[in-house]
């Protein structure tokens, strides 16, 4: 069953058009990767999905309902959570308070403080620290935990690996299995193509606001991806 569908989505920042007629869908239980160079429109599409920058043309449908112009907080309560780029934690609050904020307007579901601590056992040790005192990797865990506590049906992850050491990135990505086990669908924006392929069922490649490639992650070749990623100058 299709959980999220974008049809002909055009997003604008003022007069600047950032995406052009993007069609995209995510099935229930699926993990989908969005790849593309800087400025390709990946984060813009995520913003359009959660209503932070609503699409000017086209529709965003979640679970059969049109959410194109719905307010961000209402989309969140329907079950779309985001781990935003740069994490956007509540810096003056403690880790636990950050997590509780995720739970404040949560849908009913399997995620609780304890199940998030089980996912990231290290977080138990720094639960009473201020979010601003944490390392980048720790902050990313809190951002994932905060999003999960809203009990989402769809989790959007924007550049989880940004600015983190490869070892730490591995630790964060290893949680995906545990998240998908609980039936959460995932959209993953990632610059690291190998990581994006291995963590997803399907992928979309964007170039200058257009989808240039769509396919099963294990079926598309690196060659296809490189054409889609950079544009094919040889033709």
């Amino acid at each position: 069953m299709t959980l999220l569908a974008l049809e002909g989505v055009d997003v604008f920042y003022g007069d600047l058009q950032a995406t052009f007629g993007v069609d995209l869908h995510v099935e229930e239980g699926e993990a989908v990767a969005l790849i593309g160079a800087n400025g390709a429109g990946k984060s813009t599409l995520l913003r359009a999905m959660i209503g932070l920058t609503p699409a000017r043309r086209g529709t965003v449908t979640f679970d059969g309902e049109n959410i194109t112009r719905q307010r961000c907080d209402l989309v969140a309560r329907r079950g779309v959570a985001i781990v935003p780029e740069g994490r956007r934690l509540f810096a003056s609050l403690t880790v636990e308070e950050n997590l509780l904020m995720g739970a404040a307007r949560a849908r009913p579901g399997p995620w609780t403080l304890d199940s998030v601590f089980d996912l990231f056992p290290a977080m138990r040790d720094f639960r009473h620290h201020n979010a601003a005192e944490l390392s980048g990797g720790q902050q990313q865990m809190v951002a994932v935990g905060r999003a999960l506590l809203t009990n989402p049906r769809l989790l959007l992850c924007d550049e989880l690996s940004l600015g983190l050491a490869p070892k730490v990135v591995g630790e964060i990505y290893s949680c995906f299995a545990g998240i998908r086990e609980k039936g959460v669908s995932i959209i993953l924006v990632e610059q690291d193509i190998a990581r994006a392929r291995s963590a997803s069922n399907r992928l979309y490649c964007l170039l200058k606001g257009r989808v240039t490639l769509e396919g099963a992650s294990d079926a598309v070749s690196l060659d296809d991806i490189s054409h889609a990623y950079f544009g094919d100058r040889r033709q």
Binding site: I50, R71, L74, A104, H128
Partner: protein, 317 residues
Amino acid sequence: MSTFLRSGLALPALGLAVVAAALILLPIDRRLAMEVLLVLAMAQGWNLLCGYTGLLSFGHHAFVGLGAYVLFMTVNTTGLSPAWSILAAALVALVVGLGMWALLRKLRGPYFSIGIWVLADSLRLLFAQWEWVGSSRGIVLNPMSIDASTFADTVFYLALGLALVTVLGVFALLRSRTGLALMAIRDNEAGAASVGIAVARNQLAAFLISAVVCAAAGAIYYLSVLYVDPSGAFDIDWQIRVLFIVIVGGLGSIEGPIIGIVIYFGLRELFRDAGDLFLIFQGLTAFLVPLIMPGGIWGLIQSRTGWQLFPTRRIAQ
């Protein structure tokens, strides 16, 4: 009782009860006490908006003046008792606050601060031109509406009531989920929206609460002087006082404004007969405290000791 103790409510409840009892029973200057209590209420209301929700207002003297005028006009034209007229002041502040919010809601940071300042000054100019409310001459409270023998006590108890309701109300609000949501909005609006917090509605609620508290305090203060004029009631000095008290005491805490109040009125009474010395010391304090203690006096105490007299945070002790 034991859960009450453990929940951390016993200490603030006891403290407030002792302070209230001392104010009522001791032979103090009730005029000064009234003013202190009213400024405390204003500071707590303003701190809810600025310290906790992150919208820095330089224009809350608009509500002080508005509350005063509404009370005077209600008493003089309808004959309603002054005490009940405070409710009218609160109600009008709510409505005008909504209108101001419609203009300000998209402004953030310095734009919000300056925007509300402009609106406050516009209100002062409006009232100074408006013949029905006495224009720049101001208005006198109808003397038939008060009972001179009990008047001083009445305003004192009104001020005490407002201060207690404000402190306890803000405290209760901050302990609730809404309080945490306000702090999350202050730290990161988009992040708060992404976990399902209705950002605009929470900001509006904090704005209206602070407006109503300042209007009620302004109404009671000018009730006690029996006369109101636009340059006094809409004087930005009200805002500066609150700003000084909250910043010096500690922004974003309930304890901070209480400490700030003690320092402000302490300095003022100390230099009461020394002319401009008070202003010099106020300026020095405003300059030095944020320099040495960026979180205000209470911020420093809290970072050193971890104390919470009014426990609003989920921090391990």
